[in-house]
Each structure stands twice: as C-alpha cells, then as structure tokens.
Symmetry: C2
Subunit: 340 residues, 2 copies
C-alpha cells in the first residue's frame, strides 16, 4: 500500500469557504455569526471524486492522510473562539470525507490555535478528533500569528500542554504554518518553507525530546531547507555540543517527500536516514502544473521516489512502513475503516 | 585565482565590538555616545593574520570579498543615526584591512539601514564606500527589523532609491539579514536561511528586473532552500504565468556556494546554471568545526567544489570568472590593489 501522509482538503465546497469569509467578517464587524452551511454528502463526494480520489487513482497511490486546507487554518483571523468554531467545522468535514471514502482517507486534525493563546485550548479538539473521529495526528502551526512569529518557539514550555496530550494519545504533529498576512512572505513559496526550517532549528537548539522522548513531529515540504543544509545543521549541533543529529533529533523528527523535482528527492534520500522519510505529495496543493522537463505533474512525487536508487525494502519503508511507526494509531484505524 | 565572494570580519578586535555595545547602551539610556576606540594597524593585522589570511593559505584560496560581520550589523538596534555611525566605522575598518592586505581582500559595504527608514538613507554611505574605498558591492538586509519582517518586500518601490544608486555605480548587493531579536529564529540556523528563501520568492513574485535590468543580487548560503526546492519554484513561477526562472530571474540573481556538505553542493551544481554560482565559504563564520565524516572543516567549501563532476572551465567560472561578471568593478579594483 502507498500512503501519502500529507494531503489537505483544498477542494472543499465553495459555500464552506464562503461561510468562513462571512464568519471572519462578522467577527471584525461585530455582527452575528452566520449559520453554517449544510453540505450534502453529494456535494462533498463530487469534490473528492473529481479531486483527490481521481489523482490517487491516476498516480497509483492508495490512501491519503487528510487534513483541512493548511492555508485556510489562518489562526491569526478572529480570536480563539472563532478559531475553535472554524477548526471544529473543518475537522467534521474531514471526518465525513473519511467516513464516505474509508479505504482512501484517514483524518488529521486542524487545531484551534490563536496567537498568544495557550495551546492548552487545543486539547479538547485534539481529543475529540482522535477519540471520536479516529484521526491519527494533528497539524501544529509554529506561528499562529501568520508570518509575524509572535509566539514562543515550539520548544518553550508554553507548548507543553498540547505535547502532553499528544503523548497520551500517541499521535504525531505535522509542523505546518498557515497563510501569511505578512507581505514579506509568500505563503507557499516562503512562509511554508521557512516554517519548516525554523521549527527544525528550534528542535535542534533544545532538549525538548529529553522531556518528551516519544513525541513525534513531521517536518513537511521535504524538511524545508534542512536536508540541503544538512552539513550546516550537523556542524551547528556540533558547535553547540549537542549529540549527533541522528541521536539528538531523528528519533522524534521525520521528513515528508514534498520535494518537486528529481535532484531534490535524491538529496533527501541521500542525507536523511530512510526510516525518517515518509511519502507525501501534498496534492492538490501549492504547485499544480506539469513540469515541461519531465512531462509529469511537479507534485507527482511518486515518480521521484520510484526513481530513487534504493532497495525495494527501503522504498516500502518510505511508502508505508514508516507511516505506521510515526502515526502509531494508523494501522488499527485503517483496519477499522477497511472493515466499515 | 580563487575568489571567495563571501567573508565577514568576524574576528575584529574586541574593543571594537565592545564599543558597539557601549554605543547601543548609550542610545537606550540617553547617555553621551562614547568616543570610538583607536585601533592600531598591528591590532588589526594580528586578527587577520591569525584569522582569515591563515585560513585562506591553509585552504588554497586567494582573495576574499570582505564585509563587516553580518550578525553585527543589527540594524534593529538604536535608530538610523546609530546605524549610520556604526556602519561608517565598520566600513572604515574593512577599508583598512583591504589597504593592509591588498592582495587578499576587496571590500563590500555594510549599509546604515534602519527599520521603517527609507533605504535612500544608505545612498551616501554606499557612494562613499565605492568611490572612496574602492568597495565592489554591498550587503542589503531584507529585514532591518531583525526577525519581525516589518519592512516592505525587496520588490517594493520603497527600495528603489538604493537600487538606482547600485545601478549607477554598477555594484551588486548580497541579500543578507543580520542577527535575530525574534526568539523564534536562530540567527545562522534559521533567520539567515529564511532570509535567502524569502528574498528569492519576493523576486520571483515581481517584475523588479523589468524596472532594473542590470541590477544584480547574490543570494548567499547556497540560495537558502531554493535549489533544493527548484522544482517547487519552477512550478510556482509557471502557475503564476511568469517566464521560466532562467529568463525571469537568472540574469540578475546569483547563488554562492556556502553549503557545508558534498550532497548539498552537488545539488546546487546540478540544478543552478554554472554562470549563476559564485564560490564562497563564509569562513570564519557560522560553522567552525571539523566534519567527522570527512575530517575537514564543514565550511571548507573548496573541497566540495573541487569534487564536483564538472569541467575545469566550469570550475574556473565558479572560482573566478563569474565573480567578475557579477562584481563589475572587481577586476579593475584587484588590478589597483595589486599595483599598490
């Protein structure tokens, strides 16, 4: 089975995204929050069948670990209550997709983060999503302020309440920023990649995993700049008298394969241990076109992984085995959904 | 000749850095600015002979394009006047180094940027450094706020006054942030690399080089995350209906080789055209140790470039030829300094 661990519901029905616009407007204009739209199963089905499911079939992948649209999280809009309502609705929608397509999608939660608000406010929603919806992880933004980076580093005790719940539930987080309201940062071209690089360096410069030896994070988009600068990071750790990165971080930090060309994927596979690489494409996402150099979609990352000079056992780890190690609840959840 | 286009005076005499601390303290405590320290030639000479010159000789490089310590620029401390005094002193010190070691160092200017202050305030200092000191370029920070990214993108008309002067003087800028006062960003492990990635995406998302066809920028640290995500950037440009990156940006944007391991350097050379790669090490800089995997200094980038599977003509472009193309005043300045 080929598991794509990084997919967002970027094709959600228009009236759903439209309601979000109204919700935010109501907050800032002090109006009554509009009633949420009622989506029929058919309205949801068509967006998946003509979207992610179609692409899965075309590319030969089997199952996507699916979460709400990352740039739609926009924790910086409104307040914690606005974020809570929106997250809850987004997660319910993901649950409905997984329920309708149990062999193709397993859920991951958006958290109701809000700038300057303790992440303890995310515990109830995480618990609900894992225990009631069968979700296997969450997305955690290191920058709820949307490009101004006003919250403490991910290694600060500020974040410990949500880590304690993650450890208790045995679910990992993908470190994923949302849209940027800072004109300096293009969302998918700068803010996303910077978020990845920044989080990794925060982990490096800490003893977080001494406090939480079983806490697990996935750094998406191939780890931002990290694998390309692996020598720099090994050297920085060494100058700081940290243990080698493989011991210091790689029992807890994992990278996905959202790198959209062969040379990048080759570098990733060369410098990062196979056990730390999880297959992902983020389709239908940041880059939608066809690469004229290959004739294939840029984000058809399976093509790059298939071409890696590694053993079939290693490829199987990237495609499936590592996902079970990182998402500890995944195997049982798949069995439950397949039996449904 | 092997030209290292990215070196900072990280070994400046202690009393010089000490004065800066006093200067900033005086500003915030509304005290009189202390008198600048008087540095003798011998005090400067020893820091170079035991520092950058020693490393040049050990590694077999010939000449370093040399600028003030990047993390020392700290444009966010004090105000524009504080920044102007400090920049002027830093640049004078670089000039003295180049004057004492004319065969080994050519200068690049620090600019007196200040958050929220028009970069027009940098014109006089740039002109002075180029015309009086013989400097061949400048360092330009896209984030004078030191990690809060409060100034407009580099492609905003806000920056045009300094670009007009750069074009008139025919000098390039290295896009280089300084230290970070934002606890989210480790300086050399996150802020530097993010600065590189962010600037590239700003250029991509603009028509800046239609307005300034001869303006040139170097993105240091191997271009941040950009070469590793070259497919992503090609794809984003394509989705935005921009021309191919090679036409859209690569007549104006160049990358240095500050990538501290073989696989990273190989990727850089594979995806970026040779004409856009300039040799650099940033010694003595962010990473000071010896890589146990190779037995050599992480930042001895000449070893990685020497090992690239390219022709000798291509290697010569990276080591020397491209530097003359990007730093238009370099060849004449070297001739002047060698004749001194």
């Amino acid at each position: 089975m080929i598991i794509d661990i990084h997919g967002h519901y970027t094709t959600a029905p228009k009236q759903f995204e439209g309601w979000r616009t109204e919700q935010v407007k109501a907050f800032y204009e002090k109006l009554e929050t509009p009633k949420p739209p009622v989506l029929t199963d058919d309205e949801i089905r068509v967006t998946i069948e003509q979207g992610q499911l179609k692409v899965q079939r075309e590319r030969g992948t089997d199952l996507t670990i699916f979460s709400p649209r990352a740039s739609g999280m926009a924790h910086h809009l409104g307040d914690a209550q606005v974020s809570e309502t929106w997250s809850s609705m987004c997660n319910e929608l993901i649950y409905r997709v997984c329920d309708m397509f149990p062999r193709n999608f397993v859920g991951v939660a958006q958290l109701p983060q809000s700038p300057g608000v303790s992440p303890a406010n995310c515990i109830a929603e995480l618990e609900r999503c894992v225990l009631e919806y069968g979700f296997v992880g969450c997305n955690l933004s290191p920058d709820p302020s949307g490009g101004y980076w006003k919250d403490p580093p991910l290694t600060d005790r500020y974040w410990y309440p949500i880590y304690e719940k993650m450890v208790e539930l045995d679910v990992p987080a993908m470190v994923h920023v949302s849209s940027s309201c800072n004109p300096a940062f293009h969302a998918t071209g700068a803010h996303y990649i910077n978020g990845d690089t920044t989080a990794f360096m925060q982990f490096l410069n800490s003893e977080l995993f001494r406090d939480f030896p079983t806490l697990k994070f996935i750094i998406p988009h191939g780890g931002g700049a990290v694998p390309y600068h692996w020598g720099r990071y090994r050297g920085l750790a060494q100058d700081m008298k940290k243990p080698p990165l493989i011991d210091h971080l790689l029992n807890n930090v994992f990278f996905d394969t959202c790198v959209y060309h062969h040379p990048g994927m080759q570098l990733l596979a060369k410098v990062i241990p196979t056990k730390n690489i999880l297959f992902a494409s983020e389709m239908i996402g940041a880059v939608r076109g066809i690469d004229p150099e290959t004739g294939h979609y840029y984000d058809d990352t399976k093509k790059y992984v298939d071409a890696l000079p590694i053993t079939e056992a290693e490829r199987e780890m990237i495609y499936e085995g590592n996902a079970y190690n990182v998402f500890s609840r995944l195997r049982a959840q798949i069995e439950r959904q397949f039996a449904a």
